[in-house]
Structures are given as C-alpha cells and as structure tokens.
C-alpha cells in the first residue's frame, strides 16, 4: 500500500484556533498588565514613573528600603498580620470544630453567620469599626486594628479548616476513641494533626488578607499606627515617585512566594 498521508501539527491548526489563543493571550495580558507595569517601572531611573522605562536603576529600591516610614509601616503590617492570623486561627479552629459537630440546618446558619464579614462591603465595615471603637472610647489603636483584622479573616480560616475537617475519615477518630482517648485528646492528637495542611493554609491566607487590607484599615489608621498598604495609598494619592513601585514589587514577590508555599501544602482550589 502506498505510504500514509502525513499530518504535521501545523496542518491541524486552523485560523480559528490561532484566533482563540490570541484572544486568551490578550486577556491574560490584561489581567497581568498593571502588575507588569509596576514591576518593570520600579527599575526606572527617572524621578517619575514612566513606562516603558528609559533607563534601569535600583535607586528606588534603595530609597524605599531606607525610608523610615516605610520600614515602620512594614513592621506594623507584619506584626498586625501575624497577630490577627494567630488569633483568627485559634478562634477559627475552635469555631470550625463547633460547626462541624452540628447538623444542618444549624451548621449552615452558623456558617452563614461566620461568613458575614465577607458579605458586608468593606467600606461599611470600615466606618462601622471607626464609629464603634470611637464610641466605646478605645479609639483607633493597634489593638482595635487587631480585633478588626481578626474578624475580617475569621471566615477564611473557618472555611479552610471546615474543608479540611470534611476530608477527615470519621472512622479514624472513632478508632482513636475506642483505643481510649478522650474526646479532647482525639481532637488534639488525631484530628488537628490530620488537618494541619488546611489549618496552615487558612492561617497563611488570613495573614495575606490582613497584610493586604486597605479599606477598613484606612479608617482605623492613625499617624502612629499606619500599615503598609495605607501608607502606600496615601503616598500614591499625594506623591508619585517610583519608590512606591519598588515597594509594590517587593510586596508582590513576598505574596507570591507565600502563595507558592501554601500551594505546596494544600491545593488552592479547595479554598474557593
């Protein structure tokens, strides 16, 4: 028989396929455009940010890192993030355990209640917090920020931990129980270790949310207590030198690294 007709891969690519993938490419570009601009622009050697940059330099990184204000804010953001994440994780684990122990419809209602901070618009939460803390006399302090951030990050932790709890095989807990462990021991020695991936993911997510939080923090910030995003916001609103871009790039790198870390432990899709 004669030799078979060969089909190379490019024969199979019709114009419509090219069109489709170009469209996807444009959409992806659109998604990443501002980030790319900021990252590349941070290397500009001009005093104003222009894209594409004419010359490359690291001077803005130097300036950003040596700025006292930015360093202070970063520290405050980190402290805040860690505290809020910690608090939120502890309360979150306990709450998730409480919800998991219940049946529907009570469990659903509780979950809805816990998710409330997600639903209420940030601006509303922001002013509510301001009014509240002013009203009870505490005012805008670091402590009020911690409380606010804890409330805001709690839903994420609870969701993540609950998702993890759902994957726990009940029979393993029952086995531990039948071997003599008290309910409390079962939780601390069996259940929690089994879901430590989800707990970690929730905690890291809470940290990221807190670190990036802008709107509520804007209302609760004071000259002494300014987080990094708030300082950046004020900076952008009133000045415009590329040191912001440098800081932004550093933030992006830090966040992306953290994300890769959680992805190692627990696939991201589960959180949504």
């Amino acid at each position: 028989m004669h030799a078979p007709r060969q089909r190379r891969w490019w024969h199979q690519l019709k114009p419509i396929v090219w069109l489709w993938w170009s469209m996807i490419g444009v959409i992806v570009l659109f998604l990443l455009a501002p980030i790319i601009v900021v990252v590349i622009g941070s290397f500009s050697d001009q005093a104003y940010l222009v894209f594409p940059p004419q010359g490359l330099s690291l001077r803005w990184y130097v300036q950003a890192v040596s700025s006292r204000d930015f360093r202070d804010s970063t520290l405050i953001s980190l402290e805040l993030g860690v505290l809020a994440a910690l608090l939120s994780t502890i309360i979150g684990i306990v709450t998730a355990l409480g919800i998991a122990a219940r049946q529907r419809p009570a469990a659903d209602m509780l979950m809805g209640l816990v998710s409330a901070p997600l639903l209420v618009p940030g601006i509303v939460v922001g002013i509510a917090m301001l009014f509240y803390f002013t009203d009870i006399g505490v005012g805008s302090t670091f402590a009020s920020l911690v409380l606010a951030h804890t409330v805001l990050t709690l839903p994420y932790v609870v969701r993540s931990v609950l998702a993890g709890l759902e994957t726990v095989d009940r029979t393993v807990e029952e086995a531990a129980h039948s071997l003599g462990a008290s309910r409390f021991s079962v939780i601390t020695t069996v259940t929690l270790p089994m879901i430590r991936g989800s707990v970690l993911a929730g905690a890291v997510f809470a940290f990221i949310i807190s670190f990036d939080e802008v709107i509520v923090t804007l209302f609760l910030a004071s000259p002494r207590v300014t987080t990094l995003p708030v300082r950046m916001y004020n900076y952008i609103a009133y000045t415009s030198d590329p040191s912001i871009a440098a800081i932004s790039t550093l933030m992006i790198v830090a966040t992306v690294t953290l994300v890769l870390v959680i992805d190692r432990y627990v696939g991201f899709a589960r959180l949504f």
């Binding site: 030799a3 078979p4 007709r5 060969q6 089909r7």
Partner: protein, 529 residues
C-alpha cells in the same frame, strides 16, 4: 413499512405540459441521492376519508375539509424501500403559477386561500402496486420542512434513507506527546452493515481509534474513509456518525425527547417528523412514555438506551459505541448486548464497538479486532479469533488458555508432530512451517479428565497422569488445575453435569490423581511473530 414503489404518477403537470392523471413521466424530475426530488402538483385526484373520489377541478379543493395528495413513483427510477416518515423533497405547484415560485410563496398562497387545509389530518399517500399506506405527516408540516432546502446541507450532513456504507481506515497512526504511541499503522476495512469490535486491554489505543473515526482526534498519518470518501479532515459535526459515549453524555438540562431529537434539530428536520421519529426510536429501544423525563430521573440502563436512541435516530452512516455496557451490572449487560445487536442488525448500520470485555466482543460482533499497544494483533470472526489465535497476546487475551512453550521434535507416523514440553512428549497437529521452538495453545474445555483406572483415557493421542491442585465450582462448569509435570500446570474446564453421564461417578477434588487427555487436533500452534 411501505414496500417498493412501483409507479409514479404526477397528478397534474405544469402549465406547459398538460397530461391526464396517472401517466408516468420522465421529467422534469431529478433523482438526487440521498433524496428524491420531484415536482408534484396539487391534487387533482383527491380522496376524502369517506372513500376514493376523483375530482377534476379545483373547486373541490375548496370544499373538502380533508385533502390527501396522492403520489406514487415512476418506473425507471432508482429507489429504495421506503420507511414511514422518510423524507423527500417536494415542490408543490399549482397550475397558473410560474415555475420558479418558491414553496414558501406557495404555502402562503395556499393558506391564505382558505382552502380549508387541516394540517393535522393531512396525509401523504404513496400508492404501491397493491396497497396504499399513509405516510404520516401533514401537508403543511412537510412542505414547511422542505422550504429550507439549503439548511439541510448546512452542517454537511444530510438526513434521510441511507445505504449502509463501508468504513475504511488506512494506515492510521497517532502519537501523544513524545514517544507515547497511541495507534500505530492501523488499517482496517469494515464492510457495510458489519459490527466490528475493537477489543483490547486499557491503553491499547481502541478508544483513541474510535475518537479518530468520530473526528474528535486527528491522526498524525493515514486516512479515514466513509463510503470511499476521505473524511479525515472533516470536523466531527460534519461526519455522519452516531456516537454512544461510555458516560452516555446525555444533556442533563434537556428532556429525553429533546436529547434524542438533538441530532435531528441540527439537521433541520421538520418538527412533526422529528416527533414521529423520536417516538419511533424510543419504541425501538423500549422507552416509550419516558419522553418528558429528565436523564437524572432514569436508571442507568434507561439512560444508556436514551443515548443509543439519540445515536440511531439520525440514521448515521456509522455507529460508534465506546464501551457502552461497562457501567451496567452483569445481568443488564447481557440483556443490552442482545438488544444492541438486534437493533444494529435491523437497521443495518455499520457499527464499531469498543470494549475490553472479550465475552462481549465474541457474542456481539461479526468480526473482532484485537488490539495491543496501538497495533492490530488479529482481526477475524469470533470463532476464528478464538480457535486460531495468530499471536500469543491474542491467545492469552481471549478466553482461558493453556499455553506451552517447547520445541518441535519431528513427525510421527500418525500425521502429527511431536512436541517436547519439559520431559513430556505431546502430539500436536501438523503445521506447515516447522520451527525448532514453538508455542502451543490448548483450550481448557478440550481436555478430558478421567479416573486413573478408566481405560478411555488411553484412546486419546495425549494422555498424562496428574494431580488436581485446585478445583473451582463455576456453576455450569468446573475449573481444575491439574499438575502433570513439575513445571506444567494444566487448566481444565469440565461441564459440572454432562449430558451423557460420562462423569456421573467422578467428582473431582483437590488432591485426586487423574488422567488428563486430549486429542492432537485440540492443540494449536501459535505462530511466532
């Protein structure tokens, strides 16, 4: 079913050519496959329900509430037997109208003339030699369906009576990524109306092959031909295939009826005809009355039948089934095997069936194609594949087998050959080619088992003493593992109760000493690659 049409009479001709009722005409008809196209005029012979009446002028059209158009087909035209509901093109003309008026205009003219057409009870009649049957369908509906002739061929598939076609696969190869060969130089010709199974273990390329035929995968080399036409470059929606997926792939948001009618919708079939055909095919698969249900309300077996109905209602050139029975339980599977085979044979559709279950392949197919690692190991009728496997793989894969490797020693006086298996000397059938080493196949059911004292064992060309190492009760049969030599374990299958009482006194048990015996003709030499 309407039998062969014997004569055609056009009831009224176009103005230019007048002719009385009942004459066969030789034009202006065009016979184009797959449909017959002819010009038929509005009836001059009209019958009402009360009985046959012939009318010679138009006034009766205005007064009768029910009209039937009488048509029959002329000699000299190629035609096939007609199904009820079969499609054909019809251009209806009235005298006094020009030739080029569109059917749409005609329709409007008719309806606005208040001819009193009652579409629902309008029917077409085809007069055959001796009887006449009503082709269901209203005049209006059917004419409406034909008003869009261009849309018929939009998707490239025509709908209508089909002659079964042959499918040919020429040297198809496909690779995935680097070094993963899915299909290698696959060639096969499937005769019209044949049911061929692609049988093999997972990963042998059978599903890939099916997807290539359906058009969901492009081969790297080779071509797919339907009825002699190369369709390798056609997208799946332009090939005329009906596919049944392993997961059934029923549209969950559509009713059963909508699911089955989907292919017809794509072929712009008229609503009325759609309804009839869907109804008919649902009857064929024994699902009448489920039309309005949703797939999730049906059982697995019912869903599968809906999927089958959806594939066959479009009267495809080829029917492709991707492991359709693997999700059903054993009993249902057996039932469906028979049903699918029956439907396929009634419809005469060329069918390709993918399975990993060799029992399925053997029971259903006209031919079995055993595949391994992308290549065809053997293609042949089920008995051929079972009795004379052409390779070790086929011998192992199909049925239970005793396969022994040894050397051929030479001829005997009895017309057989001597085969050395360890210390044993077996007599095997004569083979034309003589190789020093060979593999032989002995099917377990060809081996007889006797008590050592029984003299009947001596009558066989091969008989050896052995010990039963294991015995399994399988219901209709008993499986034994008999050790006849240090390295030779024979699989034997015996009927658990034989019709001639041969074994009535013999109950095989583990540890028993027995004599196993088989004729030389019971062993087959497996050709070496």
């Amino acid at each position: 079913m309407i039998g062969p049409i014997s004569h055609l009479s056009v009831l009224r001709r176009r103005p230019a050519e007048a002719s009385p009722v009942g004459n066969a005409l030789s034009g202006p008809f065009k016979v184009t496959s797959p449909c017959l196209e002819f010009a038929v005029c509005s009836p001059s012979a009209v019958e009402s329900e009360q009985g046959a009446r012939s009318v010679s002028d138009k006034s009766d059209l205005l007064t009768n509430n029910q009209k039937r158009i009488d048509l029959a087909f002329g000699r000299g035209y190629a035609h096939n037997a007609w199904d009820s509901g079969q499609r054909f093109t019809m251009m209806v003309e009235e005298s006094g109208l020009s030739n080029s008026v569109s059917t749409r205009n005609l329709m409007r003219r008719h309806t606005s003339c208040n001819l009193g057409l009652v579409p629902e009870r309008f029917g077409f009649m085809a007069r055959t030699q001796n009887d006449r049957r009503l082709l269901p369908g209203g005049f209006r509906e059917t004419a409406m369906a034909m008003i869009r002739p261009r849309r018929w061929h939009r998707s490239g598939v025509s709908d209508g009576p089909t002659m079964p076609i042959d499918v040919e696969l020429r040297r198809i190869s496909k690779r995935f990524g680097i070094g993963v060969v899915a299909v290698e130089d696959f060639s096969l010709r499937i005769a019209p109306g044949e049911l061929v199974s692609l049988l093999g273990p997972s990963g042998c390329g059978k599903t890939t092959m099916l997807r290539i035929i359906a058009g969901f995968a492009m081969p790297d080399a080779g071509s797919v031909m339907f009825g002699g036409k190369d369709i390798t470059d056609e997208p799946p929606n332009r090939r005329d295939v009906g596919m049944l997926f392993q997961s059934y792939a029923l549209f969950p948001h559509m009713t059963v009826e909508a699911n089955v009618a989907y292919g017809l919708r794509m072929r712009s079939v008229s609503k009325l005809e759609m309804r009839q055909r869907v109804h008919q095919v649902l009857e064929q698969v024994r699902l009448t009355g489920t039309g309005q249900r949703y797939p999730r309300q049906l059982s697995g077996g019912q869903q599968q039948r809906v999927a089958l109905a959806r594939a066959i209602v479009i009267r495809p050139s080829a029917l492709l089934l991707d492991e359709p029975l693997s999700n059903l339980d054993a009993k249902l599977r057996q039932e469906m095997r028979g049903e699918i085979r029956q439907i396929q044979q009634t419809l005469g559709i060329t069918t390709i069936f993918v399975t990993h279950d060799q029992e399925e392949a053997l029971t259903m197919s006209d031919r079995v194609v055993v595949m391994n690692r992308g290549r065809v190991e053997q293609a042949g009728a089920p008995p051929e594949v079972y009795r004379t496997p052409k390779s070790l793989f086929v011998a192992h894969f199909i049925g239970e087998a005793n396969i022994f490797h040894g050397s051929v020693l030479g001829r005997t006086e009895r017309g057989t050959q001597l085969f050395a298996l360890d210390d044993l000397r077996l007599e095997i059938e004569e083979t034309p080619a003589v190789h020093a080493t060979a593999a032989i196949l002995i099917r377990p059911e060809r081996v007889q088992v006797f008590v050592p004292a029984d003299p009947r064992g001596q009558a066989y060309s091969n008989h050896f003493p052995g010990t039963i190492e294991a015995a399994f009760y399988l219901g209709p049969s008993v499986g034994l593992r008999v050790r006849i030599a240090a390295n030779v374990l024979l699989h034997v299958t015996l009927p658990s109760e034989s019709s001639d009482d041969t074994f009535s006194n013999f109950v095989p048990r583990e540890g028993d000493a027995v004599t196993v015996a088989w004729q030389a003709s019971a062993s087959r030499v497996i050709p070496s690659p």
